[in-house]
Symmetry: C2
Subunit: 629 residues, 2 copies
């Protein structure tokens, strides 16, 4: 077995496609390049500021000083937010070589590692004098979850070739975990999955098989009732059914998705295709029955959990940003494992309509939940204290439970890794960005420059900067929605269709023009999704659109809109305009009767904007699904 | 001021209508009489059994012995469940004179009062050695809430003329509360309203003005941010806005409704009509925009709270049984205060479709939540341990949070009190039951015998057993749905209409026949209730009906039903049959596309049963709202 060194977050030992590194894919402006730059410039410092301000980073100083039980702030998992910030910084440093950032990174690392115990244990909430004992609350304590994010931060350093004190600390912590939770250790798991994919990735990055074996132990233990039964049920932390026996994702969405990612990682590296297929089938059923149009997952606020099949109310959509990231993690692993590039569709959908929705246009405020309908203008989020995670229609600078902001930051920092993949025969372009892609294929190096205003525009120019003289294949993902897609090579235009177009033997200097029709389109829902019966959504390319109150006159309540699904839609710069009406609805003392038809309706144009952009213009109401009846 | 002695739970100092006592209204069989009897025979002993079995009653023994910090079981509010059981027992003893029950009652009372501190404080969760200090957690501790239920239990004893140790304990506790939370005491309130109506009622029952004044202090403090800000927001416990400034009920539904009840009580007794009108307007807006067809309130699981206006998803309807009881409490107080007997409509709706839904047909299992759609057959509830409160489609014998079962028990025990009311001019019959009603009116006694199979049948025979020879008026509530209602007196038949029919000067020996047309009818929802767009419900008299999977062939999934709203409905013994179809729906990998029309549909009859009866025949799926498109 060889230890690979691709500068990417996921680097499986096997698989149909190979990931590219952040040094092989560069984003240059455009939708994602601009966001990655905003992330580096605004979001990463913003997060560092809040982690200092809330005292979550200082918890490590206090732990080192032995006083943490007196002063600790934050929830039991706050250490993980520091690790996610460090991971984001590590990818940014690797990508840009920013030595100022490296210095800030080192300052944080120093404080973190100073709190590590001699035997490798590291946590500011447990195990120090005056605190609960280590592993005394596996259900809720999140210690192994925090280690998982520490390991991912270390993987980012190893893959970016820098190593250092955090990597040393992570390896010592991983060895401690293998000792404490190995065959002869505590026969349990963490309430929140995360260490499973992290241990596999650390194993990949270091070549240490023991970490993979420990991930397998955790994966196999879960589902056998090793954690306490709780009022939410053991399904909450996927301890209700072994992975091999489950049919669908259930319980807390982020936990379920992180666990699935880890299961795929372990199955792939062990060559256990049947195991991977089980998880794959669970994910497919989840996509078919438990996923919102945006790609968002999780419809319950109470337990941040998946609902029953087809239980997808837009107004109570939880769609946690982290669950979107988890879904991207799972889809990406399945794409690499199987070579089925149509997983790029769900990745694209989720990136544009969940992950991109979270940060504000200024990169310093975030959505934790991503509902598809907001009925009430929320209040302005306070800058003074952490905000409730799911109650405003405005993004907040920070949350009591602030998993999402640093998760977005690490995801945007590593985003280039999801743009393309390669195999022996060539290169597959999976996401359409402005930037450059370089990869080794049989016969030599391929280098492409992509230029596009996607998703505002559906044209992508692909310039071949370098290509082997021998046979090779360029594969382009064609999204399922892109009916009428075509490719022009020289003077020849060829229609292409989902899931992929293959172009053979492009040579250096050639241009290829891909056209994906992004004309706005009406989308209906499976009739079993009761909550959106009699309503449609409008999509435009990969974007889900929405009606936002700020685009209407003050006297129009968007609860009164009706759309004419048969009338033509008109494209605008970033969205669309639909034809419809505003209903006149009478208030009544009791809202149920034999006849509840509107009193009348006035024709109206319905402007629609990208869902990801909503609530950037002050508090507003919003809806994705617009009634037709 | 005179202290009244009506044997009823609510006995205001003023009001347009006067309540009758349980000694004035007797239920004899029929829908509610049978349920009251089942409550006495099965539910009350069942609750006593579980309160012993869980150790919640033994907490009082341990508190008396000084060992409670070591052995205490149950949640922080478990004392209140004992008090609610005692209240139910007290009304039953008062109603029936059952001396065996009195003996069991006294045994429990003895154990409870033995735990009272010398200064009147009484709680098994706080204030004893090794426990948190008294009132150290007003947000979540529920100490004053528990006192409220103690006072209500004492009121039941006072009103039933028995008094005793519990009353003494309650008065000492109330004096302690007035001392601890008076003008010079702790300037705060309890996170869970309940002591407010309880103090007013205790004041009414004892004539002690100080208790009313203390209720006023609690009412006026709340809403000014006296409790901690929490992630759910201060609206959760109505500490976000003073009562005088709020426009609608919000936050935790039970808390909001209990608080409203207390506010009305205080406003009525103080003669502050404007204050009562404010609460009345809040309740009306809640009925118009935040109430389910069943009368159920609260659409959020997370915080057991009201949602935004028109946010009423049937599948995530929380509709806590206790919130239904709270709504009955508010409506009843408004009915008495204003004399508007149409509040009897919402009381009827809520009693039949929320309160009656909770207990099983055998009286020993309960719903805590009352959703209007169940997509998945739940598991059988365990008899071995308390169940999660909101996760099964089967009623459970007991819950970790078991407020609902004893709340149902005390409500059914006092149910006669809601059947009729009187004023100087006569008597108003508000609910149609089989039984007898006696009341004093100007000129003498009225006695009526009602005989009916309502709500299975819409005919009510009213026999006048006694009546004054002078002028008096019998008022009959005519429900809003009862189009075509009529009264026959002798040979004369008269059409009558909601909200009331008045019959003058009935004489002893006369019969009156009321006919309320209960033919099944189609009901639509306000178009702003997005979650049921394109669907209708069927109601029959006061009953909301539903489709339940056990009435269909095994191969029919009720998610595939469509109803034809224009086809005639056929009455059955207790429900109806509608015409419609079963759709054929294709599974797809992604449930959103341009065309999601069903593949076809097979005509089908749709049997519908009373919502309150569902899930009495094993685990099932269920839906109230049935699609038309």
């Amino acid at each position: 077995m060889t230890t690979t060194h691709v500068m990417a977050p996921v680097d499986p030992r096997r698989g149909a496609l190979r990931p590219l590194g952040l040094d092989q894919v560069s984003l240059r402006g455009g939708f994602w390049g601009d966001r990655q730059e905003l992330n580096r410039r605004a979001t990463v410092p913003h997060i560092a500021h809040w982690e200092e301000r809330t005292g979550w980073l200082a918890n490590f100083d206090a732990a080192a000083a032995g006083t943490v039980s007196e002063t600790r702030t934050g929830r039991e998992f706050s250490d993980s937010e520091i690790y996610k910030l460090l991971e984001a910084m590590a990818w940014e440093i690797g990508r840009t070589g920013d030595e100022d950032l490296e210095e800030r990174y080192q300052q944080i690392v120093q404080r973190v590692v100073s709190a590590q115990h001699d035997d490798g244990y590291l946590n500011t909430r447990f195990g120090s004098p005056g605190q609960p004992a280590r592993y005394s609350d596996l259900e809720w304590g999140h210690e192994l979850y925090c280690f998982g994010h520490l390991f991912q931060a270390a993987v980012a350093r190893i893959r970016t070739g820098r190593g250092g004190a955090l990597v040393d600390a992570a390896l010592r912590a991983a060895d401690h975990v293998c000792e404490a939770f190995g065959e002869n250790g505590i026969r349990s798991v963490c309430g929140h999955a995360e260490i499973e994919p992290a241990l596999v990735e650390l194993s990949r990055a270091t070549g240490e098989e023991r970490y993979l074996a420990q991930a397998r132990l955790f994966l196999d233990r879960r589902g056998n009732g090793v954690l306490a039964d709780i009022e939410l049920g053991r399904a909450y932390y996927q301890d209700d059914q072994p992975i091999r026996e489950a049919e669908v994702l259930r319980g807390h969405a982020v936990r379920a998705l992180y666990l699935s990612a880890g299961a795929i990682d372990a199955g792939v590296d062990e060559g256990d295709d049947a195991y991977v297929d089980i998880v794959r089938a669970q994910y497919h059923r989840t996509l078919a029955r438990r996923t919102y149009l945006t790609g968002g997952m999780g419809s319950h606020h109470q337990d941040e959990a998946f609902g029953d099949d087809f239980e997808l109310p837009p107004d109570r959509a939880y769609c946690e940003t982290c669950a979107g990231i988890g879904s991207v993690m799972v889809a990406w692993r399945l794409l690499l494992a199987t070579g089925d590039i149509s997983y790029g569709d769900v990745i694209e959908r989720t990136l544009y309509n969940v992950v991109a929705a979270s940060p504000s246009e200024t990169g310093d405020a975030f959505f934790y939940t991503n509902p598809l309908q907001q009925r009430r203008r929320g209040a302005e989020a306070a800058d003074s204290t952490p905000s409730p995670r799911a109650e405003a229609s405005l993004r907040a600078p920070w949350f009591d439970v602030s998993c999402c902001p640093p998760n977005v930051a690490r995801t945007l920092a590593q985003l280039g890794a999801y743009v393309a993949a390669s195999d022996e025969t060539g290169l597959a372009v999976l996401q359409y960005v402005s930037g450059e892609i370089r990869a080794e294929v049989a016969g030599g190096e391929v280098a492409l420059r992509l230029t596009t205003a996607y998703p505002d525009d559906g044209s992508v120019d692909i310039e071949v900067l370098a290509a082997p003289e021998s046979d090779w294949t360029l594969t382009l993902r064609i999204p399922a929605w892109a009916e009428g897609a075509r490719i022009r090579r020289g003077d020849a235009e060829t229609p292409v269709a989902a899931p992929a177009a293959r172009v053979e033997n492009l040579r250096s200097g050639e241009h290829l023009a891909l056209h994906l029709p992004i004309a706005p389109r009406i989308t209906a829902a499976d009739p079993r999704i009761d909550a959106v019966r009699g309503a449609v959504a409008v999509e435009r390319g990969p974007l889900v659109l929405c009606a936002e109150s700020v685009d209407f006159d003050d006297d129009i309540d968007i609860a009164h809109l009706r759309i004419d699904p048969d009338a033509p839609l008109r494209s605008t710069l970033r969205g669309a305009v639909a034809a419809g009406s505003v209903q006149e609805i009478a208030d009544s003392a009791w809202p149920y009767s034999a006849d509840e038809e509107p009193l009348g309706a006035a024709p109206a144009e319905i402007p629609l904007v990208p869902y990801h952009s909503w609530a950037n213009r002050g508090p507003s109401t919003m809806r994705v699904w617009i009634p037709t009846v």
